[in-house]
Assembly symmetry: D5
Homo-oligomer: 100 residues x 10
């Protein structure tokens, strides 16, 4: 089951730079972990912003909330979630050459 998630980072300007560096390293590892499980299936930078759009493919609402609220940056993120359903015109995830 898929969701589109928008995350915007809003760090207070007075955080300790070492703390921030550690946080960002943890965030990257956390993201890598969930990408490898096949649950964080899309991740793009929004041009010009410290923000991303992500796609998650999870079991249910609870699992999504646990992944998102576990993000090391969670206290500093503004997150919005859009639940997605199958679109009747979608041909599927096979390779484009094979769709003809």
């Amino acid at each position: 089951m898929e969701y589109l998630v928008r995350m915007r980072v809003d760090l207070p300007s007075d955080l300790d730079p070492d703390f921030v560096a550690t946080l960002l390293e943890q965030e990257r590892e956390y993201s890598h972990h969930w990408q490898r499980t096949g649950k964080w299936t899309g991740l793009w930078r929004i041009v010009g912003e410290w923000a991303n759009y992500s796609v998650f493919d999870v079991e249910d609402n609870d699992e999504l909330h646990q992944i998102l609220s576990g993000l090391p940056l969670f206290p500093y993120l503004e997150i919005s979630v859009t639940p997605l359903a199958a679109h009747p015109s979608w041909l599927g995830d096979s390779e484009p050459e094979a769709r003809g």
Copy 2:
């Protein structure tokens, strides 16, 4: 180069039903065409709305505008476009099992 696109359908209530049916069939074929070219790479229904989120992977802004403005439903669509860039934490599109 990728973009996230949100499309919402807003058909006037007095359109001829046959005209609408033709339009929707053309829209589906048009979408299939661009999926097969590998340029319309994601398509999801937004739950509860006559709307979708799509991902496009195109040459440039002009190509995206030509695809979007060619949609049979274009006169009845409210469209917003977000340009996307590579995210430094993204592991890539290889299969999740192969990412470890």
Copy 3:
């Protein structure tokens, strides 16, 4: 899996009154059907508006979209969906007297 759904009815003022009456009767039956299945678990009128808040308990995003897009009034509804997760402070749905 639960969702909060807000629905606002926005009927064009030039619809045929008999058509509207039929639609509203169908809407009521449709709502009763899904309440009886245990999937439409909450339904309240928003004071002063032709609108409601509903709670749905369904299998997944797709099932919710199928129920909502099947509403007889769907073409005239403005719908927004909020996915809900378990709250750690919630004692559960047992009777309040039994919670102590």
Copy 4:
């Protein structure tokens, strides 16, 4: 008489962590208390946010304000309240099996 309430937590980032921990423990107990009285009748986490939707069933506007303004987290909450009325299509709170 029922109300839908949305609460979003917005803690200043420089609060003492022990103070926050105490506050959150008091908040949980306060919520449990009002759930046991049968007045706080619904509580859900909003996916991806430090926020909840709640349903309250109270005597009147004054009682609701007293419960909400007594929340230990009240100074740090953004709250919005929607008064709810009975919906004519609602079958009631009997068990779904019994509704047929």
Copy 5:
């Protein structure tokens, strides 16, 4: 129990003028009726708009919804409702001279 209600009139421009005149006369009588019962306790024109702010003093949410949804102009009104509670600094409704 009191509520602040904002009502804005939005009549379609193609309504029959006689129908509108009848509606407005019914609206005035309906308003007079609820003022005489002591339930519609305040009514002001918003300067420059076809809109009003009203105060209602009713039994509960259901009664307020029944009064509002019974307004002859209800299908053409945009209504928002704010529940009000007693303010601790309010001296009460006795005459101002008597408050000293």
Copy 6:
């Protein structure tokens, strides 16, 4: 001449508690003073918020601004003002029993 005024209190979280207590006591006295003059003619708490709706009956815009800008909490208030006019359907402020 009447106005509807909405005031929301937004105190910085690092204010000295004694200073805040003094401010709130002064605010209450200031409010009582203007109620006794018959110029602050309505005051309600907005349910769930540290905010109020008030009605003022003053000589002109200048007098209203002087009363509002003199509020001890003024530097911490977000205020919006709506000018009100007589409504043609209003029966007046006589007692409801006497309106028949």
Copy 7:
């Protein structure tokens, strides 16, 4: 007593052109009348819009509402009103040369 008023014209596209021409001529005469009384003291076109900003200097809220609701275009106007007070830094309306 002064007010800033913003008016935006929103004519339905299916109005009879002769009716519109008559309306616009009446609007101009109505505006001239109130300018000559010294009550409509400022009038500017907003660049790029069919809209204006105006300043009115009237007795009270009721007089302003009567002038605005009497505008021939009133049914087709979106109006917002901001009450203005004297500014302590304003030198007054004497000629600039005389202000030194």
Copy 8:
């Protein structure tokens, strides 16, 4: 060439009171200076807010920006600018008695 300008003051609560007092005195003198040149031609307090509406009559966009960005309070102001054009119904700035 005229512009309507809205300015809202938003001073951080931790500024030194003497610094603020000096700033406000400088602001008043700066405003007086530009009023005397005939370029700051209108200035009103917005009722209930620490904000003003102003009219400027300047050579061009650059001159307006230089005046506004030179305001002593500029770092603490939220400013919005609306360019104004002549309105065809405006009778001009001669005295109202002379307009007949």
Copy 9:
């Protein structure tokens, strides 16, 4: 003197197609005319929308309003105007190679 202008086309769906075609041809010629005078100095399509961003370099606010309100599509345009000033970091319009 320059301005950024955003124009969005919003044609009623029931306009006669021949009328629309004529209008669009006139619009193109009108745009060409003002480009040739050197006053309409920039024009871009907004990707995915029937809308454009334009830059105008004109004498004053009045001239800009006359150009914009003379657009054949003006009755069907939603226009917003932002006045622009010289930026101190701008190197000017000489060719980039010559800027070093």
Copy 10:
């Protein structure tokens, strides 16, 4: 490929003035660098705001993000990006005299 970019500066009021001066000098040099490469092709101050509108002509979304996220002021900027496409009515960038 072109983009319209809006940047608003929002510096925390407690930054060290020397640090700010250095940052602004770096920002100017950075802007000059990208103007000389022919990629930052337009830059205007928004009248009355510490903000600018810019036009960029770059290879793709990634290059634009790298330029923007490399701005010395980036942590203090609120940025929004609009992708632009060729407009069919645009005559091109030759000198206006040559367009006839």
